[in-house]
Symmetry: C2
Subunit: 637 residues, 2 copies
């Protein structure tokens, strides 16, 4: 079958040590750059001040320069007349103290007498209100040491010290080679040619942007098809680069050519690291230069870059690697993890009450959105089986904590109008964000009970009286003070393929042998609605093909129908419309937000309600189709 | 006298509100950029996915694709033979699941029989090891909302969603006009023309770099001399810019033209804010565009930029303003502050034991190094008189906390060799930094006692027996377990002007009427050495001119001599040599490091000792002159 085999897999730390030891003496050249253009660069040597700042005794105030000793007799009883032009001199801030003077009287302390005569009523002491020569910088002192990264502030200190050019480490040049016959070259190809089985090339641009952030100069190569000789030729022709990253083909499959390519030109010293995502990484050495086989899955390739390539770049330019900010978090639910693998779990965070709560995001390393939606990463060590809910663990932040603090945490049933709120709330408060986790209506009520969210979206029908949400709140949130605000009325119905090829008419068609239904998860409002409808129609759920197959969102149900996995699913009109599917309305339901009373008057929630109540929001909701806004913003309880 | 007057000064918050209200509806245009070039840009509208990712059901593993239902009979007792090519198909990770298949058997779970026949011993369930279409991104869903700042990760999500170009806010164009007849144009002038009273232009480049960091596009204008008509002409010709910053002349002095310039072309609505540094700021409005009079002192201008201009830029591009990370700190000593003024106190930080200790840096707003050396800023509210030592207060970080955590805090006497350690320790540990505060030898011992430092540099002579440091440790650090390690032997002597114009020979010359001496502060080793020498020579300190005048470092003493403030000072050879002054050796003394025993075995301190013991360090110290290294690295107690 032509498969490779992994070398003995290393732990992340072992692999990093091997990498750093092997390229211990590697370095990049030095270049001389203008100080104003040096932000972000790393000094290759210590810099010494050429001149002092100030380079003269200067006045720190607007006032009168004088020799302090001349003023010692001044008092309120016997004001001293200043001999302007002879021993006392008008001076502005920043100007040179005249010869023989050693202090400055603030202009506010000078009294005007007759004939423009000036008096003082108190002495000044020597060097009062004088910025002494060298007060800020003394010529010859070290301004910055080797390895210092220049910030905008530093530009001020360097120029003030008479340093106009500095020696910095040259940016290491990184060649990024995307490989894979399935990779779609959107830059040079037409989007019409993007067919099933193709994957849009994105990793090379992500890695290029990360190279730039890390202080390297990236170059993205054209995409190479899976052809060992071609990849080998390109790699061997490009040894002028400091680092080469081959993306894709780093695993042990039959078309994974990165390892054979590197082995034919040099040496592979790591293949496989016990971390997830990022396991299939290759580290090699061709003519004493580092080359990496980067995994093709986007999250894996990013984690591998951050754990190995970035620190190596920083080492090359002599810059320290600094850890991300860490916070203690509480997971909203139990998280299990595999023994023997260090996991980088992406989580979304929010501050609810006095806790930072963490909601795990999907773990698949192919899911780039699990990283772009993440606020932090929890590293679960390889010897740990998981984390209990309510167990406090450390989380590395990938977003500033102030973003996380200024966030409304929404948990519960999903509705597209929540995305619209998030978009539009920026008009009211540009720093405010909303994170929403989709766990169904009952999941939202549970989160509200556990204190892990600010708001919960629910659409729970009470089969007894046809009311929504109120009876569920009374039953499950007893003792919790909450408000209930209507967000939208919305149509639920059958999502079916365009043209209704199986001629579905109503709920009785779900019993047909040739119909496969896609269900929603237990506890979701849609599931309760389905069960209610089935009962009303005396239909046994056991007879429905696919009743056991569950999806978690309206959009996933619609995708199932679009892809042919299912013939029909119950969901909202917006989801059908979004994917250009057909829709048979079944019922109009009430979708509300439960809001904890203690947060109701906070600025964030008030901003949210202001947004919800705006005509613009209602109009946008109605444009989605399948929605009514006649109750939108109404406080129900 | 032609002075302006301040408008009624505003608080920082009042001024910011006035600014934001006035330019509430101001906005910048929109431009369309390629996604790979969009890092750091801010979306001007929500972005919706054009295609799903994956856009097909794909294999999550290398293995065999099959319809799960076909495998239900497989067991260890009755392995199922796979019908390769008919109902079971080899598949690689990422490839399309064949028609009629709905799961993938991992290759590791397949058993090879005779004649290359393949078997499985357990069933798979539907959709096992399959990445379902839309698992990551569903076409039509919102990928990012308006106001989202694009990161490298986001590039991956955007491209995967079939979005290759995005609409972002145009970078606001900021014109920066440095003014002042005293400003030296180092870029176009010769350094030989840099004379006393001139100030090297640096603010415009600092502000330009900060504009870029904030998302604006800066342009630095030529320096303008103090000429009202000229400044007015330049401002009025440049109304195409979104924001104008005039640097200098924002105060109320007679040559401060920013206010008259703005008033003649538009409207000044803020002049003077009750904050320090940054008080003399002007906010104006010319044809509905913002114009600022920025203070000329570097720290003031930076604080004004960060408090007002940066948030305005962020508002223009629709990006939220996010706070800096905050930590609770303990000041090493009492900090007093002026009532009625909000102070931005710059502090250097270090983690000692379980506390984050803060050492205040010089407060002068002309001292750029007070900001470049700072790790954080403590905002002392205007209604507070100060902070007690050991009182916990909040500090905004301007450097990542991981830098602060990985830092050796040195407090005590200053020696240039500590700067060399800081430079050279990077070879051993590129993430490690040293912060050193100069408070004299006794100040270092006090800090050691109070637990606010890791190491303290001391050179305290015991006049009884001529020993150094040991008797002081016994007396003042009783009960504290410390180690004492020699750093250097060094010459102390008289620092005098080049050529010794006043013909100073020895300590007796300090008694001369025509000699002005510059002393070091009480508690410094040099002061104790002086007093000891005076006593040995039966000289009364009261008879020495300048005995009461104190400086805190060797370099400041040398600067006093260089500038003519003093004729002689006691200090180290290196300081004299650095400023090209002459030196008369008086004594060779022992300069040691006190190290708390509990930190002695830490990686950081061991890295420091490794550096101190290296031949390279000793050689560099000796090259400074006036040093001996025969005891360097020796553990004394």
């Amino acid at each position: 079958m032509g498969r490779n085999v992994y070398l003995q897999k290393k732990s992340r730390l072992e692999a990093k040590n091997l990498l750093f030891e092997r390229f211990d003496s590697l370095s990049t050249e030095i270049e001389n750059v203008n100080v104003p253009d040096s932000t972000g660069r790393v000094l290759s040597e210590a810099v010494f001040a050429k001149i002092s700042s100030p380079n003269f005794h200067s006045s720190a105030m607007d006032g009168i320069a004088i020799k302090a000793e001349e003023t010692f007799s001044a008092s309120e009883r016997e004001p001293l007349k200043l001999d302007i032009g002879k021993t006392a001199f008008h001076i502005n801030t920043g100007h040179v103290i005249p010869e023989d003077c050693n202090s400055v009287i603030m202009i506010e302390d000078v009294i005007e007498g007759e004939n423009d005569e000036l008096f003082i009523e108190a002495p000044v002491y020597p060097w009062k209100n004088v910025r002494k020569m060298g007060e800020d910088i003394v010529a010859t002192e070290i301004i910055y040491t080797k390895g210092h990264t220049i910030t905008p502030y530093c530009i001020g200190a360097l120029l003030s010290a008479g340093i106009f050019k500095v020696n910095v480490k040259k940016k290491p040049r990184v060649l990024i080679i995307p490989t894979g016959s399935e990779i779609f070259d959107w830059k040079n190809d037409k989007i019409e040619n993007f067919e099933q089985g193709k994957v849009i090339e994105s990793n090379s641009y992500v890695l290029a942007a990360m190279c730039e952030e890390s202080g390297a100069e990236p170059k993205v190569h054209n995409i190479l098809v899976d052809d060992l000789d071609l990849i080998k030729k390109v790699v061997s022709e490009n040894h002028k680069f400091d680092i080469i990253l081959i993306i894709g083909g780093s695993s042990a499959g039959s078309f994974d050519y990165s390892k054979p390519v590197i082995e034919s030109l040099g040496d592979v010293f790591v293949h496989g690291v016990t971390m997830m995502p990022g396991k299939p990484v290759i580290m090699g050495d061709i003519e004493e230069k580092p080359i990496f086989g980067m995994p093709g899955y986007p999250v894996s390739t990013i984690i591998v870059f951050e754990q190995f390539v970035k620190p190596l770049i920083e080492r090359l330019i002599g810059k320290g690697s600094f850890d991300r900010q860490k916070v203690e978090i509480t997971p909203v639910k139990k998280i299990s993890s595999k023994i023997g693998v260090e996991e980088f779990l992406r989580v979304s965070l929010g501050v609810v009450g006095d806790k930072v709560v963490a909601t795990p995001l999907p773990r698949g390393s192919g899911n780039i959105t699990s990283l772009t939606k993440a606020d932090g990463i929890i590293k679960i060590p390889s010897n740990i089986e998981g984390i209990k809910s309510n167990e406090s663990v450390t989380c590395e932040l990938i977003r500033p904590f102030s973003i996380i603090k200024n966030r409304i945490v929404a948990v519960g049933s999903h509705d597209n109008s929540i995305d619209l709120i998030e978009d539009q709330i920026k008009d009211v408060n540009s720093s405010l964000t909303i994170s929403s986790s989709h766990v169904g209506s009952m999941g939202g009520i549970l989160a509200m009970k556990n204190g892990t969210c600010h708001i919960a979206g629910t659409h729970l029908l009470d089969p007894e009286d046809g009311s929504y949400n109120v009876s569920y709140i009374k039953k499950h949130l007893e003792g919790h003070n909450v408000k209930l605000v209507n967000l939208v009325l919305r149509d639920q119905g059958f999502i079916i393929p365009r043209g209704n090829p199986k001629n579905i008419k109503d709920v009785n068609d779900l019993l047909r042998d040739d119909i496969f239904f896609m269900n929603r998860q237990a506890g979701s409002g849609t599931r309760i609605l389905l069960d209610y409808t089935l009962k009303e129609n005396n239909i046994s759920k056991n007879l429905i093909n696919g009743y056991e197959d569950e999806e978690f969102t309206h959009m996933s149900v619609a995708v199932s129908v679009l892809s042919g996995r299912a013939d029909v699913g119950l969901g909202i009109y917006a989801a059908a419309k979004a994917l250009n599917l057909d829709f048979i309305p079944v019922v109009t339901e009430q979708y509300d937000l439960i809001i904890k009373e203690e947060y109701f008057e906070t600025v964030n929630i008030q901003n949210l309600l202001e947004t919800v109540n705006s005509d613009k929001f209602k109009k946008r909701v109605e444009q989605l189709g399948g929605y009514g806004t006649s109750m939108t913003g109404k406080i129900i309880i």
